[in-house]
Assembly symmetry: C2
DNA sequence: AAGTGGTCTAGACCACTCA
DNA sequence: GAGTGGTCTAGACCACTTG
């Protein structure tokens, strides 16, 4: 019989336990995890409860289940896909390249504290990146990441500073994102980086991505021009 | 024993049957629908299967379930909330008013055919609306609705021409929406209606809302200025 | 106390994939 | 044919709401 360690339903505890085993690297991207019957026996719960927690993890984009084959841990690339919402005129996802301009560590500003749920004195990494599509730069972004979540980020000298790659390197599972979309005129920085005329209107994307546990992992402010693409949102 | 009328799983057939009973008006907005045990007995399936279909309907925003109380049919207002994504600086939903400028019926254009999945010769209603916030007009929208879905729309002289109200009047349940967000300069029409300077940058919102069955119900093109609000999107 | 949805179990059978 | 996830059942018990 399973013990109840908390007031949470078993299937939620189970979901978190399984997510933790994925985050910790016990099961890696692309791996097949044990089948429902084995997991149920190992964990001392019924198969139906295991199923329920796996279904939840699938809805959270952590795993993918395929009838007749098994339950697979999702790739970081499939995660990245969720957060790239630039689309071509035909609706297909626009392939984009990102490159890092700069990384520094600093004390969190007031707005960083507010958006990343930090307290005054906490440290953040500030990353500036530039994204291009078909070789043409169209977006410049400034991202702030809590240093507590990504210790020694600069020292580790990762290949890429896309959040998806960073999260992978730190064994962190990403959750939802909320974005504020505004319209503005380009900053001097953006004008230079993207080769825009002074005062050119830009789309401002202000987004917070949280971890699966609900902890803010990245606050990004971006300015972009669309160059024939559009930005896709989905409601429902 | 339930008969299987199709290859679809029982819980999906059941979900559609229950949705149909709501759409038809048998259960109205705000009503409590029968409890799981009664539904299961009536429909000749197990309680677990009824539960599964009701959980699905809840995830589709058709009903709301409350432990200890019952399962309630959602209001059109709660539906409208899903499709209003203008937010104030503090993140709260911005209350907006909509008023109709004009309605006409016409033969669907090529782009209307494409976006609404119609064929040449089909009829559409074209509605132009203007939205204001705190008494100030900030968005002008042109909506196209398939006439086949909303017969005699003009003749019925509804109070409001917000899609949510129209759908309610026609016993139609709304599903998901997909929106394309672009940046542009205001059209002469928008400049006049919203009192904007020529060439003022605007946010262009191009959205298709589908019914619960996946049939396109409205294609809307809007131009707006934000006046301190922002447009909210959610990913995950 | 009665009634509702929420959790959990145990087990049967089906549909799909692959060796 | 063996192994996987997907569907469906029947029933026990829990948690919450209301009279």
């Amino acid at each position: 019989m399973p013990e109840r360690f908390s007031i949470q339903p078993l299937y939620l505890q189970l979901r978190d336990a399984l997510a933790e085993r994925i985050a910790s690297g016990e099961w890696k991207s692309g791996d097949i995890i044990p089948n429902e019957v084995d997991l149920a026996r190992e964990l001392g719960v019924s198969q139906g409860t295991v199923r329920r927690s796996l279904d939840l993890l699938e809805s959270e984009h952590v795993v993918t289940r395929r009838q007749g084959r098994g339950t697979f841990v999702n790739d970081p690339d499939s995660q990245a896909y969720r957060f790239n919402n630039f689309r071509l005129a035909n609706g297909a996802a626009a392939p984009t390249d990102a490159s890092t301009l700069d990384i520094v560590m600093a004390e969190a500003s007031d707005s960083e504290c507010a958006r990343l749920q930090l307290i005054t004195g906490d440290q953040v990494y500030r990353i500036s990146r530039i994204r291009s599509h078909l070789g043409r730069a169209f977006m410049i972004e400034g991202a702030s990441l809590p240093a507590a979540l990504f210790p020694q980020l600069v020292e580790r000298a990762l290949q890429s500073h896309r959040l998806v790659e960073i999260a992978q390197a730190y064994s962190l599972l990403l959750g939802n994102a909320e974005e504020r979309i505004l319209i503005g005129t380009c900053s001097p920085l953006a004008a230079e980086a993207l080769n825009l005329a002074q005062g050119r209107p830009v789309l401002i994307l202000d987004r917070v991505i949280k971890t699966r546990n609900g902890r803010p992992a990245e606050w990004r402010r971006a300015e972009c021009v669309l160059n024939g693409m559009h930005y896709k949102a989905h409601f429902g």
